[in-house]
C-alpha cells in the first residue's frame, strides 16, 4: 500500500514535469470554451464575411453541447490516449521499473498507480472542459429547457474509465508506444462496431458516447443509459484485472 502511494506521487510529479498535465488541461479547456463559442458565433462570423449568405436557423444551446460531445469523445480522448500511450513503454525502454520491482514494489501497485493517475488527470481535465462549456452556454444563451445535462456528461466520463483501462492492457502487452495506441484504437473501434449490432446495442457502452446529445434534447430517457454504464464499469474493472495479470507475467 505504501508502495502504491509512493508510486502515485512519483507518477503525478512525472506528469507535471513532462508537461502532460499542462497540455491536457489546455486542450480540454480550449475545447470546452470553443464548443460553446463556435456554436454561437459561427453563423455571425460567416455572415459578416459573406454578406449574401442566408443562415437557415438560429444556433441554440443544444448546438454547443453537440460540439462538446463531438470534440471530447473524438479529439479529446484521442489526445489523452496518445499522451498516455507512452506511460509504460518509456519505462520498459529505460529499464526504470526493474529496480523498483526487484526492491519490493508490487507489480499490482505499478499498474494501479498508473491507472489512478491517468484517471485522476482525465477527471480533472474532463470536468474543467465541461464547466467551461456549461459556463459559456449559460452566458451566451438564457436557455434552461435542457434536461439531464450533468447525467449526459457523467456517461461520457464513465467511458473515459473504460478507454484508459483498455489502454493499460495495450501498454502492458506491447513494448512500443505506437502499438499500444493502435491496440486501444482497435478495441475502441470494435466496441463501436459491436454497438451497431441490434440485439446487443442496448447494452453496449457505445451508447454512452453516441447518444449524449439525444439525452439532453430529450429524445432518449436516462434509464437507457443505466445498463451500458454498468457494463462499461464492469468492463473497466475486468480490463484492469487483465492488465495486472498480464503484467505479473511480463518480463521487464
Amino acid at each position: 500500500m505504501s508502495g502504491y502511494i509512493a508510486f502515485v506521487k512519483k507518477e503525478f510529479t512525472e506528469n507535471m514535469k513532462n508537461y502532460r498535465f499542462l497540455i491536457l488541461f489546455a486542450v480540454f479547456l480550449i475545447f470546452g470554451i470553443m464548443s460553446a463559442f463556435l456554436a454561437k458565433f459561427t453563423p455571425e462570423i460567416l455572415s459578416a464575411l459573406a454578406a449574401d449568405m442566408e443562415m437557415t436557423s438560429e444556433p441554440v444551446a443544444l448546438d454547443a453541447w453537440k460540439q462538446f460531445y463531438k470534440n471530447i469523445s473524438g479529439v479529446g480522448f484521442s489526445a489523452f490516449i496518445i499522451l498516455f500511450g507512452s506511460c509504460l513503454s518509456n519505462e520498459y525502454s529505460k529499464g526504470t521499473l526493474v529496480l523498483m520491482v526487484t526492491k519490493g514494489l508490487s507489480r499490482k501497485a505499478v499498474i494501479l498507480a498508473k491507472y489512478t493517475v491517468a484517471v485522476a488527470l482525465m477527471t480533472i481535465s474532463y470536468w474543467i472542459s465541461y464547466a467551461a462549456t456549461y459556463g459559456y452556454t449559460a452566458l451566451l444563451w438564457n436557455d434552461t429547457s435542457l434536461a439531464h445535462v450533468v447525467f449526459a456528461a457523467v456517461s461520457l466520463w464513465i467511458v473515459g474509465f473504460l478507454y484508459l483501462s483498455i489502454l493499460m492492457i495495450g501498454c502492458v502487452i506491447f513494448k512500443q508506444t505506437f502499438t499500444s495506441i493502435l491496440f486501444t484504437g482497435g478495441i475502441v473501434a470494435l466496441i463501436s462496431l459491436l454497438g451497431m449490432i441490434e440485439p446487443i446495442a442496448k447494452f453496449s457502452p457505445f451508447i454512452l458516447t453516441s447518444k449524449n446529445v439525444d439525452l439532453i434534447s430529450g429524445k432518449v430517457i436516462p434509464a437507457e443509459f443505466v445498463i451500458p454504464a454498468f457494463v462499461s464499469f464492469i468492463l473497466s474493472i475486468f480490463g484492469l484485472l487483465i492488465a495486472i495479470r498480464l503484467f505479473n507475467k511480463k518480463q521487464l
Binding site: 513532462n18 508537461y19 499542462l22 497540455i23 489546455a26 479547456l29 470554451i33 455571425e44 499522451l83 467551461a132
Partner: protein
C-alpha cells in the same frame, strides 16, 4: 468590425491559456539545448507563431528525452 469587439471578451481565457503554454514552451526551449529534431530557432518560431498548437507540438514531439 462591430462583431469583433462583441466576441473578443469571450476569447480572453483562450488567449490566456495560449500565453501560458507559449511561455512554458519558450522557457523549456531556452533551458534545454537538445531536441528530438530541429534546432532552437525553429522551435522558438513554431511555439510563438502557431497559436495553441505550436507549444503542444513542441511538448509532444520536439522535446528531447533526456532532461
Amino acid at each position: 468590425m462591430n462583431i469583433l469587439f462583441e466576441i473578443l471578451p469571450f476569447l480572453v481565457p483562450v488567449l490566456l491559456v495560449d500565453i501560458a503554454l507559449a511561455v512554458a514552451a519558450v522557457r523549456h526551449i531556452l533551458r534545454h539545448p537538445r531536441y528530438r529534431f530541429g534546432n532552437r530557432t525553429i522551435w522558438l518560431v513554431i511555439v510563438v507563431v502557431i497559436l495553441i498548437f505550436g507549444p503542444i507540438i513542441y511538448f509532444v514531439f520536439g522535446k528531447g528525452e533526456n532532461e
